[in-house]
């Protein structure tokens, strides 16, 4: 469709496994500006495989910005230079001929590198398993229209629920804090009437596990919000802070 191929130098982080030391490898590619960033890596991998070399491991699945599987740090920015999109939605026309591109995995103690650009985000799962739900069983629930929820509240809850769990917030944060991710879930339920019964219990449980997983603390730099592909707002963090301290003061449960 469009212009000439871009010649690019890639510096890609290669690491054999969680316990090996990693380093950057240099590659040179020529790609069409219409290619997506991950398609460029596919192409590179195909050429590596052809030579019998081990292709670069990276994760991606839906390639339309919703599954949250992909996530590379491109020139220091999680999901690259274009705001509000994921790595898989980034296209090469955002780069210039002759550019050098540094491609790194998300770096955080809580996200150990599995191989090359792939990290283990199990920490997120543990937090969700600790309290990211409303404790109801299937069946026996009231009619869906039984509770009226103001449109703006529902809409705020949806804003928070739009989180795709990619981990870019952790990758962007200089403290590798997971506050934006956790607060998005906490907020969704804190805003909705359905979430009220467990509101204060939930926030305590989720924060506890968040701390145990080795994520850092929030120091309000808001890098997370700036890099979030879904534009999740740090007002969710404020809401979680509020709910958490309130829970600590009013809740009768001393065990959490």
């Amino acid at each position: 469709m469009s212009a000439e191929n871009l010649k690019l130098k890639l510096k890609i982080w290669r690491q054999k496994g969680p316990n090996s030391a990693g380093s950057f490898s240099k590659y040179e590619v020529a790609v069409s500006p219409d290619t997506s960033f991950l398609e460029m890596l596919d192409e590179l991998n195909d050429s590596l495989e052809r030579k019998g070399e081990i292709p670069i491991a990276f994760e991606s699945d839906c390639r339309e910005g919703i599954c949250g599987a992909c996530g590379l740090v491109i020139n220091g920015q999680p999901h690259g230079p274009v705001p509000l999109i994921t790595t898989c939605q980034l296209h090469m026309r955002n780069f210039k001929n002759g550019d050098t591109i540094w491609i790194e995995p998300f770096r955080a103690k809580a996200f150990p590198v599995l191989k090359d650009l792939m990290v283990d985000r199990t920490g997120f799962e543990k937090i969700q398993q600790a309290g990211g739900f409303i404790s109801i069983n299937t069946g026996g629930v009231p009619d869906a229209n039984e509770i009226a929820i103001p449109k703006d509240i529902s809409s705020l809850a949806m804003d928070a629920a739009a989180c795709i769990g990619c981990g870019a917030c952790v990758a962007a944060c200089k403290n590798a804090s997971a506050m934006l991710f956790v607060s998005a879930k906490v907020s969704q339920y804190a805003l909705l009437p359905q979430g009220q019964p467990e509101r204060y219990e939930r926030v305590q449980k989720m924060v506890k596990v968040m701390d145990e997983q080795g994520f850092g603390s929030c120091t309000n730099t808001y890098a997370c919000e700036a890099e979030c592909p879904k534009g999740i707002s740090v007002t969710n963090i404020a809401r979680m802070n509020r709910d958490y301290m309130k829970a600590k003061i009013i809740s009768k449960n001393v065990e959490v």
């Binding site: 790194e104 962007a172 850092g216 120091t219 958490y244 301290m245």
Partner: protein, 222 residues
């Protein structure tokens, strides 16, 4: 009380401690600045003011003790957070992208805080010690003590000015950050809080720095 220490030692709890102590210090700085600015009203007024404070010494001591505790908590927690947060992010990125996603003020709290800490030690050692136990205390000539201190030592003065600019940086992030930590981030009011914070930091930096500037450049000496 296990729950209390557990709460305050959680990631949010530690931030909460930072915010509470930070806000306390922000309030203290307002009083301190007002006190300093009274120097512009002349030596008599200033000396009278300091002397009047001398009259309620026991109360001042209690306040100072509380203040000292606030400082200790703020510093201790700040350093602890910094150390822990460094551990949470062991690997560094080859390209630093943080310029694109966060402010300089927010990223440098430990550095600005450390400079302010050094300043604090020097400040306590020269000003506070002298006012309470040393030379100024003996002569009750507080105004001239300060004037001379700045006028006679350009390096000392420049360090003061530098430290106050750094304080402004620290406060600019700290002010709004405390509100965020308390959970008072409201779409309507938060931009206002940020503006007030900026104004506050500007006033503090300029206000405190103006004293050494004044004595260094505009004070003829008597």
């Amino acid at each position: 009380m296990g729950w209390l220490s557990q709460s305050l030692n959680s990631s949010i709890g530690k931030k909460f401690v930072m915010a509470v102590t930070g806000i306390s210090l922000i309030l203290f700085l307002i009083i301190h600045l007002l006190n300093n600015l009274s120097m512009y009203l002349g030596p008599e007024t200033y000396t009278a003011l300091v002397k009047s404070l001398d009259g309620i010494k026991p109360l001042i001591r209690v306040i100072e003790l509380v203040l000292a505790l606030v400082f200790v908590f703020h510093i201790f927690n700040g350093v602890r957070l910094w150390l822990e947060n460094k551990k949470a992010r062991p690997g560094k990125y080859a390209v630093n992208g943080s310029v694109k996603n966060s402010t300089l003020f927010s990223r440098t709290m430990i550095q600005t805080g450390s400079i302010i800490f050094i300043f604090l030690v020097i400040h306590l050692n020269t000003m506070w010690y002298s006012f309470n136990f040393g030379e100024a205390h003996a002569t009750h000539d507080y105004y001239y003590f300060v004037a001379e201190a700045f006028n006679s030592n350009i390096i000392y003065s420049l360090f003061y000015i530098f430290a106050m600019i750094v304080l402004g940086f620290h406060l600019n992030h700290g002010f709004q950050s405390a509100f965020q930590t308390f959970g008072w981030n409201h779409k309507k009011y938060f931009p206002l809080i940020e503006k007030i914070g900026f104004l506050y930091s500007l006033v503090m930096a300029i206000g405190f720095a103006s004293i050494p500037v004044y004595f260094l450049f505009f004070y003829g000496g008597n």
